[in-house]
Symmetry: D2
Subunit: 349 residues, 4 copies
């Protein structure tokens, strides 16, 4: 009954089993173990190109470390004003980059607009020492609004990046959800569209605490290992990080988990769309639903025992629901039923 | 047969079981869960005082984040020249502190000498803007030489710290091994001896990846949560970090694991002491053995399938053996036997 | 004929003479000289309170060092989107603060709106580790639009700062121009209105390279000397920095210089206001004029030999004129005459 | 009568005159002026190669900015334990480099020993992520002991740098004194011996506050302008910095000033060498004298009105005398006479 976030969930049984299995025997530490090598191979297969990948334990570490490879300390990182790196990481990108500046690029439904980006870069005083220097773009897929970028949309941004010599990072904390929401390959959604580095999330989609920073350009990865160690993010018993990713990628567990989460979100979104007085803030394209609805319904749902995020203001209340790999269909259906019931009661009053 | 480090080992079954159990149900994220609260309580009980504790996943993160609370960026951190923070963390303390300087204080067998520390601080130009300002001392217990500080030795350093207004950090990556090596309480070895913050290690002693930064002074902990988040070290599914510590502390698992490891080290050390041609570099007081021995014996042991760290130089070869919670007694005994056999063969030649 | 900026000018003869005089004899270095002490006293007299002041050579250093005393590295610095610290210092505040974030507060004519600031702070998630923490506000007086904050306007912002526990910095690169533009005392425009630290500019108003960071709260200044030294901004022959400030404050040179510059700007502004087709972008309240005018007039003035900054876009061209302590009245008058002549010719075509 | 340092002096009349002259007229700001261009040309002529040079106002800024171009934040900077960058800059190199580590290389009389450097680098774990990575060497010429490196000595260190892929920085706060002390060209003492970047000091040798960071490798200078601006070290009225260097280089003023200072130091050193009970700590090869002498003589000289630095300990007192461009020969002679007189009196007692 908890839709607050996909991080209130536990972990996939397959991943827990892999951890226990990985605990056997003694192996080399700090990533020189066979499981870590296998993860690298699996990611190369998934992305249909040889990638350079580094497991880390948190999404913030993945993003901040990745971005620190793309900008000098006097660089500018272009992102949506609602990006996780801007709003929810307590300044981690600034910390890891030595003080780079995050610059906002607006766009509806959490997405950077490529033309707006182009316009901003044209005015960015490139080469002028008085100003921070455009270094990279970071986009989030799924976005913070629960919407997805298509390969074409990513490619449009990638093209602007290349025009001005910027690198492109994708925060893929919910990459699996973005991917299964559309008919494309991991390669098409990333490097084929111009992405240089991907934060490949697993934690929100069934892992305990595991992400991979995936470089499509080996040269950009050159310093990553030093930055990871220096940031305290190199695990001595690396097998316990890698085995999560290993199991996550095995037998398409990651895609199955994401498909389930997305299906549950679609089920709820369709249900709510039919309830008078409830309106969706954004298209529901992954596993997140943002909806505006009267306070009375919100309170009714809370009284029913549902938990969810509260957004918006007192006058215009809004909620966020996040589904996950283990959301029960019965609970999702019940949520819609109860919302409809509260709406009907309110209409009757 | 792998004595290379205590991080080549897997994890205690009790801790793996706790992880699996913790995966059930949905709980609040980012540390607002009951397991995290319980760890805080258990640590307060262990240390016989109310502590403020923060789980993190790596020892480098624990040390660097702890130290960053004790020094301004223009501060000096006094430590032994062989300290892990100086030699093995790729500059993590400098990174998290914004560029503080690590200053060496010599002493035999990996231990800071309190009188030498006093002498250095007396000459440290406190208050003079041309010089970095003494801010804290960091000592390691067990030391990098496998020796332990007694409560009295810690207290002597703590006294110098207070004399000059410095804070005292203890890197306790092997704190359990240091503790069970002597007849004292956790409180006596830490805050009662003047320690302000402890990196309380669990990874090397049976956890997968878990340490706690334990503040004995709440005021010093004030900014820690921001620093941890900003450093990418706040786990969203915190229960998976906390449950490791929870199981580690439950039923004295941590002490039992450390006692076993120390016993195995003592067994090997005693055995080697009886072998002609082998000399111990340092007293063996925990779970580490540093020994000088002829190359021929080293090669013989490697041929037998034993793995261990190699120290020293070609002319004066030295090895490091680290025992762990799961070192098998038969393997330890076999190591001694084989060393003796190689020595005897060499003597015969 | 050069109105490009107030930093294209030379220096006041009084200040040059003071430098030469200060070169006599040997004195203590690094600020322990009598001239530096005298500057401190003069600034205390000017501000009618005991201030703690530090000479530095550039405005960027003054701002960035001052702000670094007001924010932790995970802090947020609230400023106007056009603030010099945001747009023109290549990220210096981020560098000196260890990566703090500059957050925009909009307002017309370059001025932060106090109500907007209040609204932003009410939503700022104070105490929540996921977000950077509001630490200080920085306002510029004169603003980047050439307008001035009155004591009441500063006080309104100061009140919001105190409500949320923030510190208030004023970038006074053109403080003298802001002050003489209105009937108030230096104290009323600063600490009596809630300003904690002032970057007191002299370079733009007749010095060679000299600013003073003026703390009205001694406690906030505690670490400044270390930060200044560490930043490479402590002059060994400090007398050469201090003597500039000494002469600047002597006999109200700073006020006379600013009054002249403001009078020249007013003369030009009034003249341009009477020319058809020319419109002022902002009220002219100090020594800067922003005006929209047809390209043909701009080109005509350039052909006449006038230099000035070009703003705006090709479709809506705009210019910036800055007057200074040594702007010749005849040149100012000629500028207006020529603008009028070009406008008349254009009207006739 | 003040031998405390060469920064207790005023400035050369030629340089003061140049400042006053530079104040005339309006010129482009931020270094786009003709004087700054001329300094670049003069330095290229002096060093017999096209250099890329940047004026800054302090030696600490010159060193820290230069070094920040030579090391990543996880780099190691090798220097003598008594180097100014290690002991006297409050951690500026750490600040500007983002937390690099200064590593000591011993050697007598303030000079790095090339063989010791080679030995250290051979053990430096290059490429291993656990350790900071050797990035550059910084040597000081004149050294902190008043001794000079010859071109051959620099070249020996330069050769080790190239062997391990490190860059070589020379702190030339007293470069002129080191140069005129021996029969070699500026080129021979720098780039021909492997120096990549030089902090070319002028402040201690007659300027008010001016140094040039001189890059012999244009590629290494690529980011310098951004770092200088971001550090608050770009002067808006740059002509006032450049004109000091311009006059300093004009007509060999810099060499004449240094020759005088060195001659005065030699005069004193020779005098003191003849006084029983006084011993020189280091060879006097520039404008600094370090001498051990009885407390009674020290006190006698102070009573005579002489000022100088006090080094050493109560049991083994030592003094530092620094001569300068304007040290009067009569005063230097008087110092020797008075020292001899105090020694004679003491011997008689």
């Amino acid at each position: 009954m908890n839709f607050r976030s996909d991080n209130v969930t536990g972990a996939s049984p397959e991943i827990l089993a892999a951890l226990t299995e990985a605990a056997q025997g003694s192996v080399a530490s700090y990533g020189s173990d066979p499981i870590t090598a296998r993860v690298q191979d699996k990611l190369s297969a998934v992305f249909e190109t040889e990638v350079t990948a580094f497991p880390v334990a948190t999404g913030t570490a993945a993003n901040a470390l990745a971005i620190s490879c793309l900008t000098p300390s006097w660089g500018a990182i272009y992102c949506h004003p609602n990006a996780h790196i801007e709003e929810d990481e307590c300044g981690a990108p600034e910390f890891f980059s030595g003080g780079a500046k995050l610059v906002h690029v607006q766009g509806p439904h959490g997405k950077i607009n490529a033309r707006e980006l182009d316009r901003r870069l044209a005015d960015a005083n490139i080469g002028n020492v008085h100003h921070v220097q455009p270094a990279c773009v970071s986009l989030t897929n799924l976005t913070e609004a629960g919407t997805r970028y298509s390969p074409d949309e990513v490619a449009a941004i990638g093209k602007v990046c290349r025009k001005y010599g910027l690198k492109l990072h994708m925060d893929g904390a919910r990459f699996a959800n973005a991917l299964v929401a559309q008919n494309c390959s991991p390669a098409e959604l990333t490097w084929k569209a111009g992405v240089d580095v991907l934060s490949f999330g697993a934690t929100k989609n069934g892992a305990l605490a595991a992400e991979a920073v995936v470089f499509f350009d080996k040269e950009l990865a050159r310093d990553f290992a030093f930055r990871r160690k220096r940031g305290g993010h190199l695990f001595s018993k690396m097998r316990f990080l890698s085995s999560q990713l290993d199991a996550y990628l095995e037998g398409d567990l990651w895609l199955r988990n994401a498909r389930h989460a997305n299906r549950m979100a679609a089920l709820i979104a369709e249900g709510l769309a039919g309830v008078p007085g409830i309106e969706l803030d954004h298209p529901v394209e992954g596993n997140e639903i943002f909806a505006r609805l009267p306070s009375a319904i919100i309170e009714g749902l809370q009284a029913d025992g549902f938990a969810f995020g509260q957004w918006g203001t007192a006058e215009a209340p809004s909620i966020r629901l996040v589904t996950a790999f283990n959301t029960e269909e019965a609970v999702a259906r019940k949520f819609v039923e109860r919302a409809a019931a509260h709406a009907a009661r309110q209409a009757a009053e």
